[in-house]
Structures are given as structure tokens and as C-alpha cells.
Symmetry: C2
Subunit: 331 residues, 2 copies
DNA sequence: CTGTTAGCGCATTCAT
DNA sequence: ATGAATGCGCTAACAG
């Protein structure tokens, strides 16, 4: 923010009042043609740029929306921000990003509550009660997108519990009776919800579950422990496609063939999962649903004061995308 | 930005002057203990948050750095922003992102020049002369990271020309004489530089080059055209790992085995390339170099007014990472 | 059509 | 230690 020249400087050089400079910037039609060119010349000469802070101090609008999500190294977070930013920018908003530190999930809420943002888009995060309360108290409108929603807030998301159920049902249909789960240890709310949906259904069908509290950091150790068991699983379901991909990476390194030796199932239907070198069977949104666009649209409507009272609770039924990482149990 | 309550409101409730409220926020040690608690109580009660716009209007500091890069669907851009944002946030800065629309590469520079940002980090983009000039004129300090640098600006980047040369040399050593190139048609400056380095070296070694102006959108058509030739290549080099991965995806779909039928080589040494299901031979930075951290550090030093005159021109020698997507030519 | 005036919310003198 | 006054750069009445 290097403001070297103010509208007063321009006014002096152009020999007009500061208000006229302001008019040239905002209401050009309400100013005489020759003064307009005169002022514009001064603007060019001094390379004048209006101070955004002063503007928003008056208008109470910053033109900024805030994004809140986990580290962008996680492909789910990357996709969330990529898509949301694109839509917001399309609508004329600048986006500022706040990354939640998994080791201190609470701190980010303070900064975001103090920000100049006109609205907040909450992506996949580790929920913190006081943090959500802080958001609410800030008075800034917010919408959840992708993560599970806690409390009575607006949200749009894949039905995570149903996705877990679908994963269990699918593996059960393939006759897998001992199955692993990867991702249960992560704090993101939607991971847990997916796991609970999976666990519940799998248990009700008499399947045996090896759960692994897998973080990205110690993935190999976690999966080693799972596969070292005498009754090792014949299939692994993961909370996300990225975790499923990591599982495949591990299994290849340890000599397994996919899907002959092991079936692997993801959740998310990420672009990556469709690539032929991965070809991951996964569970995700119907292709015609774009939750990122829907979330941004809702948030901007809130910012503009439209439909302040209409409800926005979109929990979307998942679909199964069968590819080459899964097969019937051979044993 | 929903400011419901100002420092004046707090002052009234606490029975003090507005200046005292300000002191409580910024110089707590310079205020009596009991007035401090009294004011704090009022702050809590009214849920007061200082207005960031008013603050930066006075201090001329926004605590914001701007990022400029291409669409985050490109993994290179995603990595750039992921890493940069993390470092900036670590240092107490909020990051706002500006995405360059490849179809209108010039427009983004206007918005970014007007932003409140204290500094700009320029990532992989399509360079536009007037845009760069606009950045310079804004008076906001900026640093290039990853992309090729144009003019006498501060930058840190892989040596893109040398990377292209290294790619050609490596394929030549593997006895490939007819080789394809993917990515030459993209506008990002570093893609072009990689291509020129590749082309020059390949030609000097008598190799035959099939260049494909590949965009992400019509990738299949472009690669089909290349592989339909009678003298189809035995190896393909790509401007980025992501393009190389797409090439592999295509080749698998068309029945090729990697590397038996075709060698594929990327540039970037992305995290993805090391995964066993891809195992992409690639060219990238030495593992001990972190250009994102270096760029952010340099930018913050500029913002803080440190070393205003020291040079920052880091063009880094590439390394070769041999994995399983490449093999000697069998023909 | 243009100039004058009055704040937006806050930090910072200067008095007291 | 605290209050009154000033101004950051700008927009929005209000006069003329």
C-alpha cells in the first residue's frame, strides 16, 4: 500500500477542488467534458490511485470476501479455494485466504473476525466451538461449504454420512469382509462424519473394520500397522481421494497390485481420481452440482442483503464412480 | 465487514474518552489498571472490533500481501499459492489472491495495482508489458517467484532455459531421436523459456522435435495429432509435471505402456511426480531450495524497508530426478 | 456543473 | 493517567 499521491494533489495540479476529482472517479457523467480531461491528465501525470482503505471506511464495503480452510497441500482444500476464488473474482470481489493451522485450530478465527471482509466462506476445517461463535459475533455473514455444518448455519455439502454408508455398502457388495479405513484420525468434521457413516453400516453388515488414524505425516507407519495384521484387510476405504491415492502409493511400494491384491476406495471424486494412471473408484457429488459456485452465490446474496431469511441447507446425496481400483474379493 | 460498534460506543458505555479506548487496544501499559478493566468490560459487552480500514487509513499499513498467479487448477499455481500463503500468514500477513484470466491476461493488473496490499508476489503468469509497468507505477514493492522475470526486477526461479536443455540432453543420452514437446503453446513465460532451451539443445544434437501447442482444454486432440504421425516420437517432454501426467493419462488410454512404448519427462519435480502410481522422471529444484519461502522473505524485507538496494536475482540450476517413466529408446 | 462542508473510525499529538 | 482536538483520504450532501 504505497499511496504517494492523494486526490488533493490531483486537485491542486488540475486547478479544481478535491470533490471534483472524486466525481471524475465515480460520476464522470456529472462533470464537464473539459474539466474531465483536465483532471484526467493530472491523474495520469501523478499516477494517482484512490486509497481503498479510505473508500471502504466510508462505504463500509471492502470488496473483499474471506476464505477459511485447512492447508492447501490437501487437494480438497486446494480445490475449494481454487473454485471459490474464481467465482468470487468473477463477481468483482477480491479474496483473502486464511489457513487454519491444524496444530492451533482456534487462532485463525480471531484474525478472520477482525478482517475487512464483507463475507466469509468456510471450507473444510477443524471446527472449534468458540471460533464459530466468534464468527457469528463478528456480524459478518458466512456460509459453510464442503465441511459439515455445526449449529444452525447456512451450508452446502456432500452428504458425508451417506457417503460413508455408500462406501461400506459397495465394499460389502464386492464380498469384502475385512476392510480398512484411512482418515479417521483427522479432525476435519467431514472426515469423522464419513467414518461414522462407514463404520455404522459396515458393522451392521458384519464386516470387520481396521481403522487407522492416519495423518499425512505418518502415513506409512499407519498403513504398515494395518497391513501387518494376520487378518489384513482386502479393501481399504479412505476419507478422501488424496488419502486413497496415498494408500495406493504405499501399497505399490509394498508389492501389492491394485485391485488384484487390494481394493481401494476414495471419497470426493477429485479430478485426479479419473486419471488413467490412478483410476480410483470413488464417491462424490453428482456431476451437475457445483457446491463452490452455489456457496459463493449464496454468500454474495447475503452480502447484498438479498433473501436474508431464506434457508440454505444443502446436504447432497452422493454418487458412486466405479473405476479400476476396486474389484470383488477373491478369497 | 459489518461494523456495528465503534470505539466511541465503547467509550460512552465505559464512561471514558474515545482516546482511552484506543489506548486500551494499543498501549495497555499506559492506562490505569481499573480503567483498563472497565473499558475491557465494555469491549466484551458490545463485542467491539476495531475497524481495519480506519486503522490502515492512518498507519498506511494493511497487513495484506497480494498474490498474482494463473488459475489454481494448474498444480504449479496451486503449489505457489499454498506455500506462499503459509509463509506470509506465519509472518502475520493476510494474503489476497488475484487470478489471471488466461483469456484476458491484462485486466488483473489494474485491480492489483489499486489494492491495499503492502507488497505483491508475482507467481507463474502470462507476462503483459503494460501490466508489469502498472505494477511498477503503483509503488507497491513486488517480487517474481517461479515465472521468468522480465526487465530488471527482483526474482527467484528455477533456471527454465537450463531445465529445457537438461531435458533434451537426458533424452538424447537415452538415444531418443524423435521427441515430442508438450506445452509450448501456453503463454506463461517460463513454459516458453523451457521450450526454447529444449529446442535449441535438441536441434544441436540432431534430434527431431514434434512440438504440440497444448492447452489443458484440447489436450487429447493435440496429443492425437502428435502420435498419429508416421514417425511418431519415442519420448515426450512436457513443460510441467502436470502436462506430463496428462500425457501419461492419454498414452495409457491409447494403449501405450510407460516407459516401454514411450518415455515421458516432466519439469517441476512436483510432489505428485514422486507417487508410485505415477513415478514421473522430472527436472526440478535442488531439494534444499525453497523458492516460495525465499520470495516471501524478500518481499517482507522490502515492505519493512530492509535492504532496499540489495539485489535479488536467483536463477537456480536444475536437477534431474530419474524415476520410472523414462527408459532408453528400444528402436 | 462545481466548490464547500461534514464526517467515516481510529491513532496521535497536545494539554490537563 | 486521561480528555480534547486533529487529520488520514475519501464520498456525499448541500449550496451556489
Amino acid at each position: 500500500m504505497a499511496i504517494l499521491v492523494s486526490s488533493v494533489d490531483v486537485a491542486k495540479l488540475a486547478g479544481v477542488s478535491q470533490a471534483t476529482v472524486s466525481r471524475v472517479m465515480n460520476n464522470p457523467e456529472k462533470v464537464n467534458a473539459e474539466t474531465f480531461t483536465k483532471v484526467n491528465a493530472a491523474i495520469q501525470e501523478l499516477n494517482y490511485r484512490p486509497n481503498a482503505a479510505a473508500r471502504s471506511l466510508i462505504s463500509r464495503k471492502s470488496g473483499i470476501v474471506a476464505l477459511l480452510c485447512g492447508p492447501l497441500e490437501d487437494p480438497d482444500n486446494a480445490e475449494f479455494s481454487a473454485r471459490s476464488i474464481a467465482y468470487a473474482q468473477e463477481k468483482g470481489f477480491i479474496t483473502e485466504i486464511h489457513i487454519q493451522d491444524p496444530t492451533q485450530p482456534g487462532t485463525v478465527f480471531e484474525a478472520i473476525s477482525r478482517s475487512q471482509a464483507e463475507g466469509i466462506l468456510v471450507g473444510p476445517i477443524t471446527p472449534v466451538g468458540t471460533g464459530i461463535a466468534s464468527l457469528k459475533n463478528s456480524g459478518i455473514p458466512f456460509v459453510f461449504c464442503g465441511a459439515d455444518q455445526h449449529g444452525e448455519h447456512r451450508f452446502v455439502s456432500l452428504d458425508n454420512a451417506a457417503s460413508g454408508k455408500l462406501a461400506a455398502d459397495y465394499l460389502n457388495n464386492l464380498s469384502h469382509t475385512v476392510v480398512g479405513w484411512v482418515g479417521g484420525g483427522r479432525n476435519e468434521s467431514h472426515h469423522g462424519t464419513r467414518y461414522r457413516g462407514f463404520l455404522e453400516t459396515a458393522k451392521s453388515q458384519g464386516m470387520k473394520i481396521c481403522s487407522a488414524a492416519g495423518a499425512y505425516s505418518d502415513f506409512d507407519g499407519v498403513l504398515s500397522a494395518m497391513m501387518a495384521r494376520k487378518d489384513r484387510p482386502t479393501a481399504i476405504a479412505a476419507a478422501t481421494d488424496a488419502l486413497a491415492a496415498q494408500a495406493i502409493d504405499f501399497l505399490i511400494a509394498y508389492g501389492y497390485s491394485i485391485p488384484e491384491d487390494m481394493s481401494v476406495l476414495g471419497i470426493g471424486n477429485s479430478p485426479q481420481s479419473a486419471m488413467n494412471y490412478l483410476s480410483l473408484t470413488t464417491i462424490g457429488l453428482p456431476p451437475d452440482r457445483d457446491i463452490f459456485k452455489e456457496a459463493v452465490t449464496e454468500l454474495l446474496a447475503l452480502i447484498h442483503g438479498d433473501f436474508p431469511n431464506h434457508s440454505f441447507n444443502e446436504r447432497i446425496e452422493p454418487e458412486l464412480f466405479i473405476r479400476n481400483s476396486s474389484a470383488p474379493n477373491q478369497k
